[in-house]
């Protein structure tokens, strides 16, 4: 019930705004913000009520919806989706506040789209029924279409059509996959009753994976992203980068990996290669972008490459790192887009050459921008490092794919510093241009927008344990589902029995556990 409230409360807000939009702009904004904050506060109940000792779904609600077709309203969260739900409810009120003064036309429509989008996104992360998942997956496209298409920049129609068509192309494949699973699962769409192995699992895997890879976006399916980001309004970019991209990676961890472990193993070399290409390619292309938003967009391609790499590492550290990195990317890239939006509102330009020396004029902005930049670079002590480190470590240690991949991925860490710092230098340092000499520093509202994000950036960097411990069990379940027999044999080969000393503490215990499981399954 709590979960349903969280999901549909924003939709209630949509209705409320539709009914009360005659009250004027400030009333609309206040209603939207109140609903956003309320949703976040209620969703905190999900965190406090979450039982970290088990990795199964919690807060489950199941109601027959179209029983004749085996469709039910089945929702629930585990330690993975919990964080994505919280990320969504966290970012939405921030976005509403960020858009406070920047929407000139159709304010009520804007806020309604934003709230409807929230419901769609939350639904995607909570749905445990394939049909329901698909409904939410598609329904969230509509408000996003409007956000870019109505409140976007000059080439907004091109961008929004490209975005929708790209996604639809993937969803069509996924729909085929969903139907195939439906018929193999006694005509039921229920995710929790699905158990492999499925016939044609490699094709099904590809169907799902391509849909998610487009959303992530994995190289070479990424070209919709820079266009969409550049044309989208600030808030659209924040939601797009912060949450929408995570749907792709979430889909991979929820569907591709546990449902089709053999196919996943089979395609891992290819996918991981693409991920690593994406890491380096995204970074290199980001480096030479003249437009701030495009730069951040390409950096997303690079960062999401890390997430995909970690997901396919088949290692608890790697997958946990990936889930954490999803949150991190949502925070730091979301913050970057907010900051870019703030200077855009002042200067009406996003071109790096138009700036320089802003530090002198906007010291508060400079400090916040610096922290966010460093978080994106992955500086220890801030959130980005924890995720990246776990991903790389997990990928390196497990050896599910070649170490060469990890080595190249680590090059991405260097490149991240190159493009971010170069951008920062050109925007913030140097001499102040005359045209920028009158730019005001951040106002109180903008600081309030940024502070919560900064809080989490530091918190996750310094003390990530509350985050990791809640997701640990759920990730473990995914890992055991992914680990096929061959993987266990692989581990045994790697560590001969007489080297027990080399495995310290917890790793040793886990090694024994896996061996025991392997024996019982024989």
């Amino acid at each position: 019930m709590l979960l349903s409230t969280v999901i549909f409360l924003p939709l209630l807000g949509v209705i409320a705004i539709a009914l009360l939009r005659g009250l004027g702009a400030s009333a609309i904004k206040s209603i939207a913000l109140a609903i956003g904050v309320l949703t976040f506060v209620i969703s905190l109940g999900l965190y406090t009520g979450f039982d970290a000792t088990t990795g199964t779904f919690q807060n489950v609600t199941q109601q027959a919806w179209i029983p004749g077709l085996g469709i039910s309203y089945h929702i629930g969260i585990d330690g993975i989706s919990l964080w994505l739900v919280l990320l969504t409810t966290f970012l939405t009120p921030i976005c509403i506040l960020a858009a406070w003064n920047s929407v000139e036309k159709g304010l009520s429509g804007f806020m309604m789209s934003l709230l409807a989008l929230e419901t769609g996104m939350l639904g995607v992360f909570c749905a445990l029924d394939l049909f329901l998942f698909f409904v939410f997956w598609e329904s969230m496209l509509i408000p996003m279409y409007f956000l870019i298409g109505i409140w976007g920049g000059e080439r907004r129609i091109y961008a929004t059509v490209k975005f929708v068509l790209y996604t639809m192309a993937g969803s069509a494949l996924m729909l085929v996959g969903i139907l195939a699973l439906y018929f193999q699962n006694n005509n039921s769409f229920d995710l929790t009753t699905l158990s492999g192995p499925f016939s044609h699992s490699d094709l099904l895997f590809l169907g799902f994976f391509i849909a998610f890879a487009i959303k992530v976006p994995l190289f070479p399916f990424h070209t919709w992203l820079p266009d969409a980001h550049v044309e989208a309004p600030t808030v659209g970019s924040v939601i797009l980068a912060g949450v929408l991209l995570k749907m792709g990676t979430y889909g991979i961890i929820r569907f591709c990996l546990p449902l089709f472990p053999e196919a996943a193993a089979q395609f891992t070399p290819l996918i991981v290669t693409l991920a690593v290409i994406g890491i380096i390619y995204g970074a290199l292309v980001a480096m030479v972008q003249p437009d701030l938003k495009k730069l951040v967009a390409y950096s997303s391609v690079s960062h999401l490459g890390f997430v995909v790499l970690g997901l396919f590492s088949r290692n608890p550290a790697g997958i946990q790192g990936s889930v954490l990195q999803m949150i991190n990317h949502g925070l730091s890239t979301g913050a970057l887009f907010l900051l870019v939006g703030m200077i855009y509102e002042r200067r009406h330009s996003r071109m790096i050459v138009d700036f320089g020396g802003l530090s002198k004029r906007m010291p508060i902005f400079a400090v916040i921008f610096m922290i966010v930049t460093l978080s994106s670079i992955g500086l220890p002590g801030l959130n980005g490092f924890v995720g990246e480190y776990m991903i790389l470590l997990g990928s390196f240690v497990e050896g599910a794919f070649s170490k060469i991949h990890v080595i190249f991925a680590t090059v991405g860490v260097i490149l991240a510093a190159v493009y971010m710092l170069w951008m920062f230098q050109r925007v913030m340092f140097g001499t102040l241009d005359k045209t920028n000499a009158e730019l005001p520093d951040l106002n109180a509202r903008e600081i309030v927008v940024m502070l919560p994000i900064l809080l989490f950036i530091v918190w996750i960097g310094v003390y990530p344990k509350p985050f990791l411990s809640k997701m640990e069990k759920s990730v473990e379940i995914v890992v055991t589902q992914v680990k096929t027999q061959s993987a266990i044999g692989h581990l045994e080969k790697r560590v001969p029995p007489n080297t027990q000393f080399a495995l310290h503490g917890k790793q040793h215990e886990q090694h024994e556990k896996i061996e025991k499981e392997a024996e019982t399954s024989k």
Binding site: V285, G357, V418, Q425
Partner: protein, 629 residues
Amino acid sequence: MSLELIVVLLIAPLVGFLINGLFGKWLKGNEKLSGWIGSVAVLISLICSIIAFASLQGGGTPFDETLYEWITGESFAFNIGFRVDALTTVMLLVITGVGFLIHVYSIGYMHGDAGYTRYFAYLNLFVFAMLILVLGNNYLMMFVGWEGVGLCSYLLIGFWYDKKSATDAGKKAFIVNRIGDFGFLLGMFTLFAAFGTLDFVAIFDAAEADNFQKVFGTSTLVIATLLLFVGAIGKSAQIPLYVWLPDAMEGPTPVSALIHAATMVTAGVYMIARSAVLYNIAHTGEVVAWIGVLTAFFAATIALAQNDIKRILAYSTVSQLGYMFLGVGVGAYASGVFHLVTHAFFKGLMFLTAGSVMHAMANELDMRKMGGLKAKMPITHWTFLVGALAIAGFPFLSGFWSKDEILHSAWGSSPLIYIIGLITAFLTAFYMFRLIFVTFYGESRVEPDVASHLHESPPVMWVPLAILAIPSALIGLLLGWGGHDSWFHHFTKSVFPEAHHEASGNVVLFMVISSIVGLAGIAFAWMRYSKRVPSTEPTNALYKLIANKYYIDEIYNALIVQPIKNGSHYLLWRIVDNGVIDGIVNGVASVIQIIGGTLRRLQTGIVQAYIVSMVLGIVLFLAYYLFFG
């Protein structure tokens, strides 16, 4: 020693950073206060360090405790934990001791700067990060500090951010350091893959166990130690990643003294000394020693032909760091660290005196425009002379002891390395005294308007100089008397494993040779520069090559930086991204558009035409069912 002590030691500079960073706006009116807050924070750390140091005397056991779990899961545990042993306390004393004096000095040096509070905030943050680096009880903690000091270095080099050369230098430093960090990260991963932990003690114990070497062989350790060394190369500015350090002189001079001479750049040496057990097993020290000695020689040659005071000191730092690597590379870990300590004092001192000169000369750095400063700035002159004599290896001053120990150990490893090291010692003495003679002696070439207010620095600046001059002169004698049986060697014995090569030969003989070489360098510089102005330097090709630093920066730029930049812009972005990928996507779209455009002609807009086709369709269906169904 207790956890509380260590936490206070560590947190004090952080608190200083937060006060200056968050409330800097309100402190602006009272910059002295801001400076003293920063200094006192480091003083607290210094006191705690002394307590920690004292508690290790007389066979105190090393401290090793976890503060809290940081990144943990089922199969991995990385904690925030501290290890304080002899090596740590040596580093702590250097960092907080030299750090405190430099903070005090900065109060005067930075006087009147618009970014005064920001400066002290950064400097405190640096001390905090450096303390994490040396206090950590695992490689990950070391890495955290490692990146932290890199960040502070970036911020402080680019402190005067409206100067493009300064921010360029900061960026370059950070990126080159990141290249090194790439090695550090992979080294950590290799170690974790083999040991399942990154804790120093656990790794060293496991590596020393026979069982491990039987199962894994030493190849894992060879790879791991070499990768870690890549990290050290970046941070400690060795060939081929030394290029950032000379540029780093764009930052305020006290920063150069603290970060780019005394502490941060020696982190690589600390790391190898800390990992001594691994390097001993893997036998990779030789690589370290060769890189070290080549860097020492290479950088010393560049220093011969520079005219910028700070750049000479910078290349000298690169060169001296080479010596330290030479020391730890040949297995003389204690000697390498000993040189680190003495170098921190005398090089810190020299940078501060250079700052004092700059302060008096309105930020002039070109020594061709100086000369005869001795008369106007006696304290600065004498303290600089102490530092220069120390680095030149003048008998019984501090550099003499540490450098001699390293060279002595090098002889036991490879005579060739020893000879290159000895030549470098000669070059060192020569370029340092070239600097002294040209700057402080001879005719004054100072421009008249600068000369009119040429003055000795205020007490807040010269007192730290005077204090630093004392250890620069004497610390070698105090700690290093007796060569390999010295107090320092005894104190650090518990940390380092036995060296492979026993230093052989007559100790006194080596000392005599070193002294002669050092004095020869000084004498040679006196002959050449006591009378002459360097603007009359020779103009042959070799000199030009050296004066232009072997064109290394230009070569890197042409071979690495530009190709990556242009390749990304034209090949990846314009051709691959916009051309190929988007071309395919838009191509598919336009094909569909063409098909649709053809088909739409069927849509005539005449209702009856639609109905006719409908009826025809129905008829056809019916006919099919009637005749074939």
